[in-house]
């Protein structure tokens, strides 16, 4: 706001000298009007980077992005049973509200329709909350308080109440006490690794709940802001190869596919909408609450993106849009890739500027990427198959692991222990990031962390090692020398 005084040279005078002209007052007589509806309604928020808007148009803008994402990518279909991962925060709160809105509309359409064919259905909706109180060693009374608050939000205000599932992070260990979760997290020295491991465990729990109760889609409240922070953090952690997998609308590498309908919304607008529409949220502490910004790479990336946003309101979109140019994986496409691509060309989506693979490549893509047993990120097959460590280990120590040992791979942990952990090659079944952050030296001192991991992750690691080892052995069996000194005949 320019100052009238001749002595002030700047356009925004902060000197508060008496010479400055009085500024506009923030009352209802504000002269800025909504640029969207153009109905002379006073603007109350600034959204879409720089547009003054009324509350109705803010709601419409966010809902439109939500619905467009769902419709263009078939994220939720009428036959789906959708589970929303609700954290209590503004993004998932808005997701809950919008899912209720579109579901309610679909229900009224169905009720009003004279067509009584059984084909008309409305998608099912459930909500899950994962209580992570154990991570911060919160008392059980406080943990219960949080659950009560979550219940009161989800279980009121909707005519057709959704089922609320409350799970705990330690549920990832079947029937175990929370000591094991605490021991696992404490064994991870790297703070970023610890935060990331919590996220991977949380996804396991969400998938467990979704599968157990027959849900067909899992909705996360991941929005543009968090995707932008994730892009920067993943780049810093050396996860460049797998980065595209986590930031698309659809991710079906999981048993219950994960969808991100809020992918095009920014946190700022979601928080604003919650406040002005009186949508209750619950603030829950996590590891980075009140921590220094450099406590973890994730925190640093998020703080950085937030400060970039202050300088230029389009930064979050720019980062997310640039990352969207990376080729996604086969599991990021919906079930009918050719239909998906045809629809995309027709609608000329700007959100994801993917160069479509040709039909031959799409049809041969079986979707069977090799995934890291801990974080499920796709492994770069070139690195995976050509790791020098593996070759050295096999060729020089070819006889220390033979067919008999490989039989143990399917057996109990005791059978596996003596052989996998002595093998340097074992660590290559994990992605580089997990190796560095979570399981450094898994064949020596990292054993403790590995053994505390959930059974499902360890089983995946063992199976992958067996498969990889068999494959590699087959590749070099001409070079192996038989026990009796004779050359291999094959």
């Amino acid at each position: 706001m320019a100052c009238d005084s001749a002595t002030c040279g700047s356009s925004s005078c902060g000197s508060q000298e008496a010479c400055c002209a009085p500024q506009k007052k923030p009352t209802g007589s504000q002269l800025v009007f909504c640029v969207k509806c153009k109905e002379g309604v006073v603007a109350r928020v600034v959204a879409n980077q720089s547009e003054p808007m009324c509350l109705g148009c803010l709601h419409a803008s966010l809902l439109s992005k939500f619905k467009t994402a769902i419709n263009n990518h078939s994220l939720v279909t009428p036959s789906d049973n959708v589970l929303l991962a609700f954290s209590g925060g503004p993004a998932s709160r808005v997701a809950l509200e919008f899912l209720r809105e579109i579901r309610s509309k679909a229900q009224s359409d169905k009720d009003a329709s004279r067509d009584h064919r059984s084909g008309l259905t409305v998608f099912g909706l459930g909500v899950v909350f994962v209580n992570e109180a154990t991570v911060l060693q919160v008392s059980s009374a406080d943990a219960q308080l949080v659950e009560d608050k979550i219940s009161s939000i989800v279980c009121t205000g909707s005519p057709r109440l959704e089922t609320l599932h409350i799970a705990r992070l330690e549920d990832v260990f079947k029937n175990e006490l929370s000591q094991r979760l605490r021991a696992l997290l404490e064994s991870v020295q790297d703070m970023t690794g610890r935060e990331d491991l919590i996220e991977y465990l949380r996804m396991q729990v969400l998938q467990q709940v979704a599968k157990e109760h027959g849900y067909t889609k899992l909705v996360l409240g991941l929005c543009t802001t968090r995707i932008a922070a994730r892009v920067l953090a993943a780049t810093a952690k050396g996860q460049g190869y797998s980065l595209p997998a986590d930031i698309q609308y659809l991710d079906s590498r999981w048993p219950v596919p994960v969808v991100l309908p809020l992918r095009d919304c920014v946190t700022r607008e979601l928080v604003l909408h919650c406040h002005v529409a009186n949508l209750d949220t619950v603030f829950i502490r996590n590891l980075s609450t009140m921590a220094d910004r450099s406590s973890s790479i994730n925190n640093l990336a998020h703080t950085f993106v937030t400060s970039l946003q202050e300088e230029n309101a389009s930064r979050e979109y720019t980062i997310a849009r640039t990352a969207a140019k990376l080729m996604p994986f086969s599991f990021n496409y919906s079930e009918c890739p050719s239909t998906y691509l045809a629809n995309r060309r027709r609608k000329d989506l700007l959100a994801t500027n993917i160069t479509p693979m040709n039909n031959k490549e799409m049809s041969s893509s079986s979707g069977s990427e090799v995934l890291c047993p801990v974080c499920s990120s796709p492994l770069d097959m070139l690195d995976y198959c050509n790791s020098d460590t593996d070759r050295v280990s096999l060729e020089e120590n070819g006889r220390h692991i033979d067919e008999e040992d490989l039989e143990y791979c399917g057996g109990s942990d005791r059978g596996i222990h003596s052989f996998t952990h002595q093998s340097i090659a074992f660590q290559t079944v994990f992605c580089a990031s997990c190796r560095f952050q979570i399981l450094p030296d898994v064949h020596t001192k990292g054993i403790q962390t590995y053994e505390l991991l959930p059974g499902s992750m360890r089983e995946r690691a063992q199976k992958q090692f067996k498969d990889k080892y068999s494959w590699m052995r087959h590749q070099i069996e001409d070079l192996l020398i038989e026990e009796d000194g004779a050359e291999s005949q094959t």
Binding site: Q16, Q23, V46, S92, M290
Partner: protein, 99 residues
């Protein structure tokens, strides 16, 4: 003047875990009006229990903190230069826990 200050999105942790504060703030000596900038200084000096860097950066709020004056975005009210009146409600919400 009497103001209502509200803190959300985790900011309340810096203010004794109390979300709503009724305060009496006067413009500092020599000034006729109370601006948001002056209010921030007052909050830092009188209300903030710990970790000022979590709430403020230089003269403004830390990036990621939304400010609303009477439920209107402070971007529309001149940000730091917005003038406050008696009985106004100023809301500060942290967006750093996106959820």
């Amino acid at each position: 003047m009497q103001l209502t200050l509200e803190f959300g999105g985790g900011l309340e942790l810096l203010f004794g875990s109390k979300k709503k504060h009724q305060v009496d703030v006067s413009p500092s000596n020599g000034h006729i009006e109370l601006t948001v900038e002056a209010l921030l200084v007052w909050i830092r000096d009188n209300l903030l229990k710990e970790r000022p860097e979590m709430f403020m950066k230089d003269k403004s709020v830390r990036p990621g903190v939304l400010v609303l004056i009477n439920d209107s975005d402070w971007e529309l009210c001149g940000r730091l230069e917005g003038v406050l009146e008696d009985k106004d409600t100023v809301t500060f919400i942290s967006t750093l826990h996106g959820g």
